[in-house]
């Protein structure tokens, strides 16, 4: 399996006291190379779930197995290293570093993993994304669509097992939405990476082989209706 979630529970402390449950997931899995779209309304805990899967946030209880490794049991530094090497992330607003060129943004992603920074590979990925003439451009010199392509290249640069994409088309115009999704799904297929995309756009979701409404397996949402 690329990803298995077991008995994940997460709640947040409320300012007025008491806890607000956000996630209660008994079981969820993604097969290797599988491409899954997770759909749900805003405030449904999608981003929290991605943060837990990537190890940025820890659940209150439960197991997160990525490639068989329960990342909730890893110390924080090991979890960071694991994320760098095995999990790629694409953010809604790209999160490119403004002082770094397109190539450097990809190299930066590589530099936190254990392996050496591989410049030819970074160039290759950017070329794959159609950015061979934009390697040395700063993010502000790139169009929104181009920025997201750099973000895709950065996310797959360390050859991860799992790619998490948080509303990857939310910031791009309608014309670019399909292109971006095509680039992500094609890259995952070509590089044999399992993909979990969070989206609230049905048109985007329908392009995936498996579409999972968050409500279906997050019991917090089931109880709230």
């Amino acid at each position: 399996m690329s990803l298995v979630l077991k008995n994940i529970r997460k709640s947040y402390h409320q300012p007025g006291g008491g806890d607000l449950p956000v996630l209660d997931i008994p079981y969820f899995e993604i097969q290797p190379r599988e491409q899954v779209a997770l759909v749900g309304a805003s405030g449904g805990g999608k981003t929290t779930l991605l943060n837990i899967i990537s190890g940025i946030t820890t659940p209150d209880s439960g197991e997160v197995l990525v490639g068989g490794v329960d990342i909730t049991r890893l110390p924080e530094a090991a979890r960071d290293r694991f994320r760098a090497e095995r999990i790629g992330i694409i953010f809604q607003t790209f999160h490119l570093l403004p002082a770094f060129t397109a190539l450097e943004n990809v190299l930066l992603g590589m530099s936190f993993a254990r392996g050496k920074v591989n410049k030819p590979h970074a160039r290759e990925l950017l070329t794959e994304m159609g950015l061979q003439n934009r390697l040395h451009h700063l993010p502000r010199q790139l169009s929104v669509g181009e920025q997201q392509r750099v973000a895709i290249a950065r996310a797959i640069a360390n050859k991860p097992q799992l790619l998490l994409a948080d509303e990857p088309t939310a910031s791009v115009d309608a014309a670019n939405k399909q292109t971006i999704i095509d680039l992500i799904t094609t890259a995952c297929r070509d590089h044999e990476i399992a993909l979990l995309t969070v989206t609230h756009d049905p048109k985007i979701a329908q392009r995936f082989e498996r579409v999972v409404p968050l409500r279906e397996f997050n019991q917090v949402l089931q109880h709230s209706t």
């Binding site: 929290t48 943060n51 990537s54 940025i56 946030t57 924080e76 530094a77 960071d80 290293r81 994320r83 760098a84 090497e85 992330i89 953010f91 999160h95 570093l97 403004p98 002082a99 770094f100 450097e104 190299l107 930066l108 992603g109 590589m110 530099s111 936190f112 993993a113 920074v117 950065r154």
Partner: protein, 450 residues
Amino acid sequence: MSLLSIAFKSIRQRLLTSLLTALSVSLGVALMIAVLLAGNILNRTFDLQQFGYDLIVGAKGSPLELVLSTVYRISPPIENLPWRYYQQLKENKHIAAAIPVALGDRTEDGGFPILGTTPDYFSIPYAGDRTFRLKGELLRGKWESVIGSQVAKENGWKLGDQFRMVHAGQDDHVHDEKFTVVGVLAPTGTPNDRTVFVNLNGFFAISGHEKPIEEAIAREAEFFRESEQEIRQFYAKDLAEYAAHAHHDHAGHEHHDHPTPDLQKEVTAILVRMKAEPGREILAQSRAIEFSSRLKKGFQAQAVNPIMPMQRLMTNLVGNVRQLLLYLTGVIIVISGIGIFVSIYNSMSDRRREIAIMRALGADRIKVFSIILLESIVLCLAGGLFGIILGHGFVIVAAPIIEARSGLAIDPFLFDSRELILLPVVIGLAILIGFLPGVTAYRTDVAENL
């Protein structure tokens, strides 16, 4: 991509702020270098610990002024001593050598101080047991001159060249008499390098240098506490010769070809070496102390150990001022450091997102802490290195100007060993400065800031 290159990128992103903060460190360090080197120059110049003579005898007045004038030649002479007093001193049984010096004039070219003396000046070591080395000859002839190495270098003078001197005083009168360079001294690292030595007889023979007869009689009467009648009797022969000379015809020879009467001769100071038996060098010192205290009680002259007044000046005044300046420049560096701290710390709120992105890409807390710390070290180190270059550059530019204005010999490529601790101190400061912003980066909550 190394952490250092990530730190560089971050500095480049805020280039103007980074440059200005690094520049403030540079200025602090440059000032520190300038103060260190200035102190070093003063020490080298004024803290001469060894002389070939034991005492400087001069007119009553400030001992410091006597040393500054006789040894360093940067202060005008206090008052002159009669030639007869020098002759008496020479006869003292405890004195091994007494060398007369006459100061006041300067060269027309370059404004180097002129020192009229006898060839014996070069027979005593100029420091410890280091003796003068000379290319050419000593001051045998009346119009002969020996020049210091720096004079030869700056004025381009060589053996056989001639020069004239400017009279001390407000009129800047240039004397007609010309001296010929017959010797060039090897460098000594002392004020001798910037001095022009002329034969004392030639110095006296320059028109205007001889004291007017009546004035000389009055001065001697006052100096020796004798009546003018007694002075006239003592110099009866000189006075008769003077009267005959005043009325004879000067056609066919110059006025200055006549020997100057002793009555009209004066010296600025007398360098004295006390007698000491072999193995009993201490005897010379105790004799010098005794001689000095005897003169102190009298009314005619003072005898000064050349080391003491300068040592007192260096320790009590210059040393304390230098220490104060060092503290002040230290404070300036710390203030610059605080500037860098404020700059980095303020940027942290804008950079939380960047740090969160790096953490999301897999950078652990230690890495983001290190990036901020490296940024601080790079800024401080670059500022410090530039400051060292700036400080030395300032000394290199200022050295010839100070030399020209003060007459002090300054090595523009001087290095103070304490400079070696400046960079480690700057790095230490950078670590202190970067620590708190680094901790802020370390504690950044990734989920909250993405």
